[in-house]
């Protein structure tokens, strides 16, 4: 990337340079969150060891770590493989459904007027109440969890895509057409790029909902998966293992969210450079 023209290392007439920002100050967006987490874990650990709450109902980081090691030596990787498959397939189906419908609603006013109230209502409804029905329809296997992920996450992506298409700058559309862009090039050069941030926002929301879908689906009816494992450990008051399962989900959620941020930076570098992310 070319260095912006206005950024240069200039000296004043007396030979002074602009004051330099320290490394600690410059990198605070990186180290501050890490420091916060470390402090919380330390306080939690100290409280856990000193207060002596009932280990059936409470645990603290070192015990949870032991729980994690026990999980990792046992069913964790198989559970993660099953839950991961449910998550990935569900998300892929959601994206495949949301993209065409989202673009249709964004570009066709009649379709938008006809379908928007239904989609908004479905998005706002806690569709998890349908989970037992989906288990009856699709069985105890991964199909029912995939179905739950799809109905939970599709609308986030769809609604964001629709809004993105509708929010495309009319001035840019007019300029592209005026300079001779045909329908495909208008999509390629104007609509698709302006929709990217909305699409990634939809994905981020969808990821959270999809994870809830996987865990709750496995909670309700399953014989394998991270949600099932959490439920099984909770039933027998194996609190450290139970919380270790929750921690695994938290860590995975953070990793997926960070990957999505990375994807947005890759797909929309002008936003990153603009400091909008």
């Amino acid at each position: 990337m070319t260095t912006p023209m206005h950024i240069s290392e200039e000296r004043s007439s007396t030979g002074l340079r602009a004051p330099r920002e320290s490394w600690i100050s410059k990198q605070r967006s990186r180290w501050l969150p890490v420091a916060t987490v470390i402090v919380i874990l330390l306080v939690w650990e100290i409280l856990g060891r000193t207060i002596g709450w009932n280990p059936l109902f409470f645990s603290y980081p070192s015990q949870i770590w032991s729980g994690f090691l026990s999980l990792a030596a046992g069913p964790l990787w198989n559970d993660l493989a099953v839950s991961g498959t449910e998550f990935v397939l569900g998300m892929l189906i959601s994206i495949a459904l949301a993209i065409p419908v989202g673009f249709l609603l964004g570009t066709r006013r009649n379709a938008y007027f006809a379908l928007d109230p239904i989609i908004s209502a479905l998005y706002a409804t806690p569709v998890l109440v349908l989970a037992p029905l989906l288990v009856i329809w699709f069985g105890l296997g991964i199909q029912s969890k995939i179905a739950i992920v799809v109905i939970l996450s599709t609308f986030s992506i769809m609604i964001n895509l629709t809004e993105g298409v509708r929010a495309t700058d009319v001035g840019l559309l007019r300029a592209a057409r005026s300079f001779g862009a045909g329908r495909w090039r208008v999509y390629r050069d104007v609509i698709f790029p302006s929709v990217i941030p909305y699409f990634v926002t939809g994905l981020r929301l969808a990821v959270g909902r999809a994870m809830i879908g996987v865990v709750v689906g496995e909670y309700i009816a399953s014989t394998v998966g991270i949600g099932f494992q959490i439920e099984a450990d909770a039933q027998v008051f194996a609190t450290p293992r139970y919380l270790a399962g929750v921690a695994v989900i938290v860590v995975l959620a953070v990793i997926v969210t960070e990957l999505l941020k990375l994807l947005e930076r890759k797909l929309a570098p002008w936003r990153r450079l603009d400091g909008q992310d």
Partner: protein, 276 residues
């Protein structure tokens, strides 16, 4: 094809310049609101014509009709013998808000029209043309930057380079300097004057700024508002042929005449707004 042959100035003005733009009894409604009412005018090759009027008089609508982005309700707009709605390579627009693609670099933005219109040129040739105009407007070093890294003045330079790069016979400019600070606007006016003179393009220039119109134009179209009608068609060619007399005498006279007209229009417009 070399870049030299790809870069062509508009043909030199003949003794009787050909009519490039013909607006014939154009009426335009936006919904049920009448925006333009029976507007007729013609603009010849190489002319620099400014359109002036109060806000809401339909100046920008007229420009969009000339660009073919809008179609008249009645009447017709003919560009180089064809209906204006037929997309061709004759026109390029410079927008008030720049309309640069934020996701494209400066060079890619300048190349935009060439990519769409000049598929016959190889990418390297299109890039060379884009760089020629970027250098011409002093932004050669900014080719790899994104629009957000530029100041308003630089953005509008990119907008100008993009329009000139497609070498249109007609340049449509919609208040191109109104979003800029006074110094940048002045500098860009000079640039435009130079580029237009060098390339001999026909320009239709919508503006609120009387001095801008008087400095740059061969003709000024004055528009009355609500609905938009053509009130006066003022030619400055004869007066400008004597630069000393133009600066010492006529400039102030014309400025006063234009201001008198606009003042009345703005007052009438405000009164109408208050009543409604």
């Amino acid at each position: 094809m070399t870049m030299e042959t790809a870069l062509t100035a508009a043909p030199a003005r003949a003794t009787t310049p050909a009519t490039l733009i013909s607006v014939e009894n154009v009426t335009f409604w936006y919904g049920s609101t009448l925006i333009l009412d029976d507007v007729s005018c013609s603009i010849a090759e190489g002319e620099f014509v400014s359109v002036i009027g109060a806000s809401g008089c339909g100046k920008s609508t007229l420009l969009q009709l000339l660009d073919g982005a809008l179609r008249p309700g009645n009447g017709r707009v003919v560009i180089e013998g064809h209906d204006a709605s037929k997309r061709d390579d004759s026109r390029a627009v410079v927008y008030q808000d720049f309309a640069l693609m934020p996701w494209k670099t400066v060079a890619e933005n300048v190349r935009l029209g060439l990519d769409y219109r000049r598929g016959d040129l190889r990418m390297k040739q299109r890039e060379e043309i884009a760089h020629h105009y970027l250098d011409r407007i002093g932004l050669g070093r900014a080719a790899g930057m994104y629009p957000y890294q530029l100041s308003g003045g630089m953005k509008q330079r990119v907008g100008l380079a993009r329009a000139f790069a497609v070498q249109p016979s007609i340049l449509l400019m919609d208040e191109p300097f109104s979003a800029l600070d006074a110094q940048n606007a002045e500098i860009l006016r000079e640039e435009v004057r130079g580029l237009v003179a060098e390339e001999r393009r026909c320009v239709v220039f919508v503006t609120h700024n009387l001095d801008e119109a008087l400095q740059l134009s061969d003709r000024i179209l004055l528009m009355r508002s609500t609905p938009g009608r053509l009130a006066e068609d003022i030619s400055l060619v004869e007066q400008k042929s004597d630069p000393v007399a133009w600066e010492r005498i006529h400039y102030a006279e014309y400025r006063a005449r234009l201001w008198e007209f606009l003042k009345g229009e703005v007052a009438a417009h405000s009164e109408l707004k208050e009543r409604s």
